[in-house]
Symmetry: C2
Subunit: 409 residues, 2 copies
Amino acid sequence: MKQLHIDAERLWQSLMDLARIGATPKGGVRRITLTEEDRQGRDQFVRWAKDAGLEVRTDAVGNIFARRAGADPSAAPVVMGSHLDSQPSGGKFDGAYGVMAGLEVMRTLNEHGVRTRVPLEVVSWTNEEGSRFVPVMMGSGVFAGIFRKEDVWEAKDSDGITVHSALSTIGYLGSKGESHPLGGYFEAHIEQGPVLEDTKTTIGVVQGALGQRWFDVAFAGQDAHAGPTPMELRKDALIAASRLVLEVNRIATTFPDYARGTVGHMQVKPNSRNVVPGEVRMTVDLRNVRDATLTRMKQDLEKTVRAIATQCRVSAEIKEVVYFPPCEFARDLVSLVRDSSKKLDLSHRDIVSGAAHDAVYLARVAPTAMIFVPCEGGISHNEIENARPEDLAAGCDVLLHAVLARAGA
Amino acid sequence: MKQLHIDAERLWQSLMDLARIGATPKGGVRRITLTEEDRQGRDQFVRWAKDAGLEVRTDAVGNIFARRAGADPSAAPVVMGSHLDSQPSGGKFDGAYGVMAGLEVMRTLNEHGVRTRVPLEVVSWTNEEGSRFVPVMMGSGVFAGIFRKEDVWEAKDSDGITVHSALSTIGYLGSKGESHPLGGYFEAHIEQGPVLEDTKTTIGVVQGALGQRWFDVAFAGQDAHAGPTPMELRKDALIAASRLVLEVNRIATTFPDYARGTVGHMQVKPNSRNVVPGEVRMTVDLRNVRDATLTRMKQDLEKTVRAIATQCRVSAEIKEVVYFPPCEFARDLVSLVRDSSKKLDLSHRDIVSGAAHDAVYLARVAPTAMIFVPCEGGISHNEIENARPEDLAAGCDVLLHAVLARAGA
């Protein structure tokens, strides 16, 4: 039997049509959640879904489900999706790809008259980005029972507008909450990192998402004139901070299990050319795919901060500000993604997601997997975000075959 | 013969009286150059000088000379002094001490009927601080031929007022430039650093002033998301910058001759918690008492910046923005300061000035030395600047005896 394939051109065309809604001058998209642009994007998706014969429903926080019936109407559906909202200066593919890929799978099945055993759904989750309302991953979080819909409704943007009011304004306030059992959840997404491009790989078989621990660190020494103060009498907070930057790098490069460590923010005081810095405030971001290893990284960091403070004769404070546990995807679904890549003769490799996605919350309530495709330079959350049509099509083909294997013929 | 001593109480009282002019709430002084407060400070000094029988003259850039005749009127005078202007939030002793100590020496000699062979002068140099007009050390710089008075006259403050106009307004625009030969120049000053206090020493026998080389350094890598970007694919500009901070410290602690190295300013971009920094701009301040060593430090720095850039896979730029050569004071005058300290049984140690002073310019045209006394915590350019009356008196005693030895009985 000839291999089933999605229509690469139709997928690309849908992505480009969708990207006209909220298009920015530099080729990006500004479709902030629950705005007029988001409404237009949702309307477009709903029209296409209905055109494909799907049954559309919206839940109480604006998540949109588009269903294709299966042979067994009582079976839990296999669901594909992602989000249609964007960063304020976002790209054409982040989120939109996962929804359009799900839609393209439906269209392909229609075209070839394929009927699955269990029903299929495409979902667009509300407010994944968190640019206007927090929490991020709001819609999938409510679906997974992480947040209560009543709390989420009260969240306000900077103008004081609530989620409830914004949902109502754009016409996507559904009547009831939704929390049905899932036979599986697959999310296709651009990698938003450089690994696939760097290794010339088409498909990332996503094992899970990194856990995160974020810290604020402050070192306090003593301001002093750079001229009259001999080296041995200084209490230079920037020397302590610089040592910590290198130690965070050591931690991230010596621990196993996809360890990452980043100092992204540093504020030096008084920050004057000829004054020895008396104070530095900085952040540390540690990530790992295993919770136990992440805990050991944290312990190493705290011990290191104390040791540096003693050696540099400065005081130190360290405070954990965010903890987000690692997420491991369902082995059988991950295997389906790998097997489909093999069957389609696509280059593929195991990978972990460094960022969070709706799939991370879904994994708490359903067997979940993700499919990554390369994006140019690993750049995302940026108007210049880009991906190649052939890679997007390949990822959608993998989605099709993984879903078919899961949903049964 | 009984040892001659200055009047410690009179010196302290003059400093306190002077500090009432431009006094700030926290016990400091705001007497910015060529303002009304500066005029009042100058007027006070001139009154006291005339009361002490000194002959006062003002030169074309407002430097004030107060002369006490010697037995040989044709001999080049021995000069003592410093400056009366302050930082915007300055202290009571920076500059003022050197002028008041010179005045106190005159009063003491009057009191004891001592006549020196060569004439003596106390000088107050215009605009040492550079807070309102650049260049800093303007008056001494003109006297030493570093700047032309015509150029200095045209310098403007932030309101567009010229030095010439400001001098004229406060009545201190003298008719002609002044550049007479000096038999020696002694400047007493608070240390503005922690060494004397830390070593419980009363007198710093200043050998000279550190040369300075200032640099701007920029590292450029690549912004990247902290989550999806593996350590080995990063081009983290902050890791390069942190390594340089530690290397600057290595340079300053391994080179001889009072080496100092400081990174005082650092700007991280985009400076976001979960983004690998793509760019860091920083400053480097290298100092040394020997020019040859300072050059070797600079060469080490430049080589180190290049090596770090290669190892961290980032690009680097380094640009020298200030070069100020080291200054070595006159050995015979420095010896007079040391010998006087010994004779007066005062604890003393050789020291170098990490900052520049009027004496640094004077050293180019006259045999010059400086006398340092401790200040509390090494803190200066600050309203809380403080010094002990007994230390100030000791420094003034050393000044008296060094000047007497130089000026001849």
